[in-house]
């Protein structure tokens, strides 16, 4: 008989505790982000596609056209070209394309780069209608970036 009432009251108490938990949640602020209208900052660890870094000192990229990234890429998605120009030491980058449809975010290019010219960008809204939408010209991107 004692067990009967103990069970009854402990059970009822646990139900009340449960109700207070959900009631607190009801009056807590909502955590949903209304996505297209409202955006949160991307975590620095986020791996988007690769991008050439803009060096704040020189105002341009740091690529020396060594071609290590192109050679190291397991998916063959990087293609770059450079040429020798008068009065400039070393080669100058003239074309840097990334075929993002093949990229698997392995990061081998970022790691192998001797001048740390590459990094992941934080671009996450990259839907497109054609395959060509994902053939990025990274040189153009770094020049357009402010």
């Amino acid at each position: 008989m004692k067990a009967y009432f103990t069970e009854l009251f402990t059970g009822a108490w646990s139900l009340i505790v449960g109700l207070t938990v959900t009631l607190k949640a009801l009056f807590s602020p909502v955590v949903t982000v209304q996505y297209p209208r409202q955006k949160i900052d991307v975590t620095p660890n986020y791996r988007g596609h690769i991008d050439l870094i803009k060096d704040p000192e020189t105002g341009t990229h740091r690529c020396i056209t060594c071609g290590m990234c192109m050679r190291d890429c397991p998916s063959d998605c990087i293609y770059l070209e450079g040429e020798k120009q008068e009065g400039v030491k070393g080669k100058v980058l003239t074309l840097y394309t990334l075929d993002y449809t093949k990229c698997s975010h392995c990061g081998a290019c970022v790691e192998v780069c001797p001048t740390q010219a590459l990094d992941y960008c934080d671009d996450y809204e990259v839907a497109g209608f054609a395959r060509e939408d994902f053939h990025y010209d990274l040189l153009k991107r770094v020049e357009e970036r402010e």
Binding site: G18, L19, V21, T22, A25, L26, V30, V31, T32, Q34
Partner: protein, 326 residues
């Protein structure tokens, strides 16, 4: 019987009562559909519907249009006449209890002397509809859902009646108006045990979580309405929401003093504000516990009824009878 009939001829009164009932049924389904989804969201710190209209206010309109335009699929092996009949059996009787509920001193269809019995008798037709739906679907999930619903509703009707009977012994009337008028002190104060028992049984009677074993979606896909689509499904949903409204009305009438509250001008009509406020308080409670508790197991459900609610309600009834007689 000083309701609407002192103002209008009988026929107008009947039309008004029927139209009012329809307004309550559909209006309540809209309000509850929105409220339930919004509250469900906020209980989990989400927002609920947000896209259609201001904060998703028009979401239910869009859903209604979708449900109405959907095809009514009847399974090949189903019992076709019964299958089509079940949603109607479920939905048609929910209008009737609304006629006897005293929304305010003058807003009431009829004041039946046996109002309580009438409401409970009509409300139990819903069990039959669930059984018919489960049987006619010719589907094992529907069948199990229907069996569970019948066992559960039959069991929980007993403590529900016994807890309400304690109040009937105190007021000496089955008339809902009479019970409202008898409450100088709200019966929640005088009969707290009966109130708690009624509250539990009310959840079980409407087949709501945590007692929604009849439609337990994780075990039985959707229970008795697995095979229903489009409007026949939404008839079941509207019947469920109206049944919630009716049991909340009964709780308001029996335990929270019906229309009693701070007096307003034209109180014989505006009392409906207090009444609906209390009703929706109960509705909020139903949604609240739905998003708090996990579903009970079937043996736990039956244990709760036969081992706890039934003996306690009997003892409560006995004590009430002795105190009333003294």
């Amino acid at each position: 019987m000083q309701t609407l009939n002192s103002y209008a001829p009988e026929i107008i009164r009947i039309v008004m009562a029927v139209v009012g009932g329809a307004v309550v049924v559909f209006g309540n389904a809209l309000v509850m559909g929105y409220m339930e989804r919004k509250l469900a969201g906020h209980f989990q710190r989400r927002t609920g519907p947000m896209e259609v209209g201001f904060h998703g206010l028009l979401q239910l309109v869009i859903d209604g249009i979708k449900l109405m335009s959907k095809q009514l699929v009847i399974p090949a092996k189903a019992d076709k006449p019964l299958f089509m009949l079940a949603p109607i059996i479920s939905f048609a009787p929910v209008f009737l209890p609304l006629l006897v509920i005293p929304f305010s001193d003058r807003i009431q269809g009829f004041d039946l002397d046996v109002g309580l019995l009438f409401v409970l008798a009509i409300a139990s037709i819903n069990v039959l509809a669930v059984l018919v739906a489960g049987w006619a679907s010719n589907n094992k999930y529907s069948m199990f859902g229907a069996f569970r619903a019948v066992a559960q509703n039959v069991a929980y009707e007993i403590p529900m009646l016994l807890s309400l009977l304690a109040i009937v012994f105190m007021t000496n009337t089955f008339s809902l108006r009479g019970i409202v008028e008898a409450q100088t002190v709200w019966f929640i104060v005088l009969q707290p045990v009966a109130f708690i028992i009624y509250l539990i049984c009310m959840v079980a009677e409407t087949n709501r979580a945590p007692f929604d074993l009849a439609e337990a979606e994780s075990e039985l896909t959707a229970g008795f309405h697995t095979e229903y689509s489009g409007m026949s499904f939404s008839l079941f949903m509207m019947a469920e929401y109206t049944n919630m409204f009716i049991v909340s009305c009964i709780a308001t009438v029996f335990f929270l003093g019906g229309t009693s509250g701070i007096p307003l001008p034209y109180f014989e009509y505006t009392g409906i504000i207090w009444f609906l406020l209390k009703v929706y308080l109960f509705m909020f409670f139903l949604v609240w516990i739905r998003w708090t508790y996990p579903r009970t197991r079937f043996d736990q459900l039956m244990n709760l009824c036969w081992k706890y609610l039934l003996p306690i309600s009997l003892v409560n009834l006995l004590i009430t009878v002795v105190v009333v007689k003294l």
